[in-house]
């Protein structure tokens, strides 16, 4: 039971990250590697704030804004300096490593004894007794669902329609008398805001900030998006953002199952093989490889 709950928790936390990756990969058609830096950015800010005694609930907007700022930087590098998409993300990811280290002070900041969004006097009162072991899951679920619903609502606004248009046919955005560069920057900022938010929650769930927690985050995000969108392609009741969240849970379950048979140091190889299998099954690679190689 415990492993089931943990898998769900982690799946939903990474699901928020996957919502961000969904914006860049599926909507903007932008392979955004900033994610590997903006995920720990959210964690670094959170750990620093909590260690300094700030109200843990403030870490949520703070990390979102920090991630959004990182996304804006990637966008500016791509749009204004005309660096290609993949490289813009790599530049920001590299830069963020140092920024995260500077923010947190060290590569590893434990926050075991401090209050978090899961662990404070109010939460402990609400989730007393037998409910305590589901506390984290419920909070994570609420945040994931709110993120999903807000994203759904946003994508239906005029601004959201324009964002979808820029990945679909950037030329049309120019025809509509709008600067396509600005729309891309906006999309990247929302995406990385969500990723940093996931980083913040992950940090509080693990009760530690680790500089390397972002390594491979983009792979988890992409895998979740591809699993979700290809599994639920033809299911009308499940919309894409829900599919992405479920995809993330499925991915985490696959990893958890694989770890039953292998050692933890095999983790990255398992991830790589899983990702490859998902890409092949998803049959999404042809178009993307041609476009982005």
């Amino acid at each position: 039971m415990a492993i089931f709950v943990t898998t769900l928790e982690q799946g939903l936390i990474y699901g928020i990250l996957a919502l961000g990756v969904y914006i860049t990969y599926k909507i903007l058609d932008f392979p955004d590697l900033t994610v590997d830096g903006s995920f720990p950015l959210g964690a670094a800010i959170t750990a620093t704030m909590i260690a300094n005694g700030v109200n843990p609930y403030l870490t949520i907007p703070a990390s979102f804004l920090a991630g959004a700022a990182a996304g804006v930087c990637t966008g500016l590098i791509h749009v204004k300096c005309k660096v290609r998409d993949l490289l813009s993300g790599i530049i920001m990811m590299t830069a963020l490593w140092t920024i995260n280290l500077r923010l947190a002070g060290t590569a590893n900041v434990p926050i075991f004894g401090d209050e978090s969004i899961f662990d404070n006097s109010w939460m402990n009162k609400v989730f007393g007794g037998g409910l305590a072991s589901y506390k984290v899951l419920v909070v994570v679920l609420v945040i994931a669902v709110i993120s999903k619903v807000l994203l759904d609502l946003y994508l239906k606004t005029k601004s959201g329609l324009l964002l979808r248009a820029v990945g679909d046919n950037a030329n049309l955005v120019t025809s509509l008398a709008k600067d396509q560069g600005n729309v891309k920057i906006l999309g990247l900022s929302i995406a990385n805001g969500l990723v940093a938010l996931a980083g913040s929650i992950f940090c509080q769930e693990q009760r530690v900030f680790e500089i390397s927690s972002g390594t491979g985050a983009i792979v988890i995000g992409l895998a979740s998006v591809i699993i979700g969108t290809s599994l639920f392609k033809n299911v009308r009741l499940v919309n894409t953002t829900t599919a992405v969240l479920i995809g993330s849970v499925i991915y985490k379950a696959c990893v958890a199952a694989a770890l039953k048979f292998f050692e933890p140091q095999d983790m990255k190889l398992i991830t790589a093989v899983l990702f490859l299998i998902i890409l092949i099954i998803g049959m999404d690679r042809k178009k993307k490889v041609k476009k982005n190689a």
Partner: protein, 257 residues
């Protein structure tokens, strides 16, 4: 009024492949003009449209819109007053969005694209009426993704979308070239109707000499970066396909083909 003044355009300047397209090109499109432009490949028709819209830069010269110099204005800003339809039907629509979403997007041109509702249900009937006038059955497919429509249907939508909001200029870049003859005919009739209804100043590049003769109030023939024929008014009305075909052959023979 759109004006091109003393335009100079080189491709690949400073390299071995340097090619001069326009040396001193001038064109004035008066308000209400419907200009059809014909000419051989490489004569500079599409480049002229690209220069007008700001898709490519020029070495020298001025581009004026109602007397205002817009040479330094970005393409997207010029598009506030310009609608453009391309040869490729895919250029004017978003394939993964529905017809309703595409129409709503286009309907908001000139607006801010903020956090208001993207699709205004109250406007749906209006869109359906417009789409219904095409007789393509699109008005009953409002929730169908545009990517699943045929090229002709998409081009008709692209034309409707580019002229949905009040604009002053319409730029048509061989917009019937990728369509079958019957659909092309339909799109041309629709173009003519919209141009007249909205009194748009229009420049249409076409390879179809019959369309060039039948439609529009003025006809240009371009060759090697120059206007070799410019007729308007009554003379244009009396023009027959054979007349321009003769002229066309003349310039082609000069070229050696």
């Amino acid at each position: 009024m759109l004006e091109l003044k003393n335009i100079r355009k080189y491709y690949n300047p400073g390299t071995l492949n340097e090619m001069c397209l326009f040396e001193d090109f001038n064109l004035t499109a008066d308000k209400g003009d419907f200009i059809s432009v014909v000419g051989s490949n490489g004569s500079g028709k599409t480049s002229m449209l690209n220069i007008l819209c700001g898709s490519i830069s020029v070495e020298k010269g001025q581009i004026l819109m109602d007397g205002e110099d817009i040479s330094g204005m970005k393409e997207y800003k010029r598009n506030r007053r310009i609608g453009r339809v391309y040869q490729n039907p895919a250029m004017g629509t978003c394939p993964s969005m529905t017809i309703l979403e595409n129409m709503s997007l286009a309907d908001n041109k000139g607006g801010t694209y903020g956090l208001g509702k993207g699709v205004n249900k109250a406007r749906k009937a209006h869109y359906q009426k417009l789409l219904g006038s095409l007789n393509l059955g699109l008005e009953n497919k409002m929730d169908v993704k545009v990517g699943s429509l045929s090229g002709g249907q998409r081009q008709a939508m692209a034309l409707l979308m580019s002229t949905l909001t009040p604009i002053d200029y319409l730029i048509l870049d061989e917009h019937t070239a990728a369509l079958d003859p019957k659909t092309a005919e339909l799109i041309m009739e629709l173009t003519d109707r919209i141009v007249k209804e909205k009194n748009l100043t229009t420049i249409m590049v076409t390879h179809n000499l019959r369309y060039a003769v039948e439609y529009g109030s003025r006809l240009l023939m371009m060759h090697q970066g120059q206007i070799v024929l410019d007729i308007a008014g009554e003379e244009k009305q009396k023009m027959k396909v054979d007349d321009i075909l003769g002229k066309f052959n003349e310039i082609s023979i000069e070229c050696g083909n």
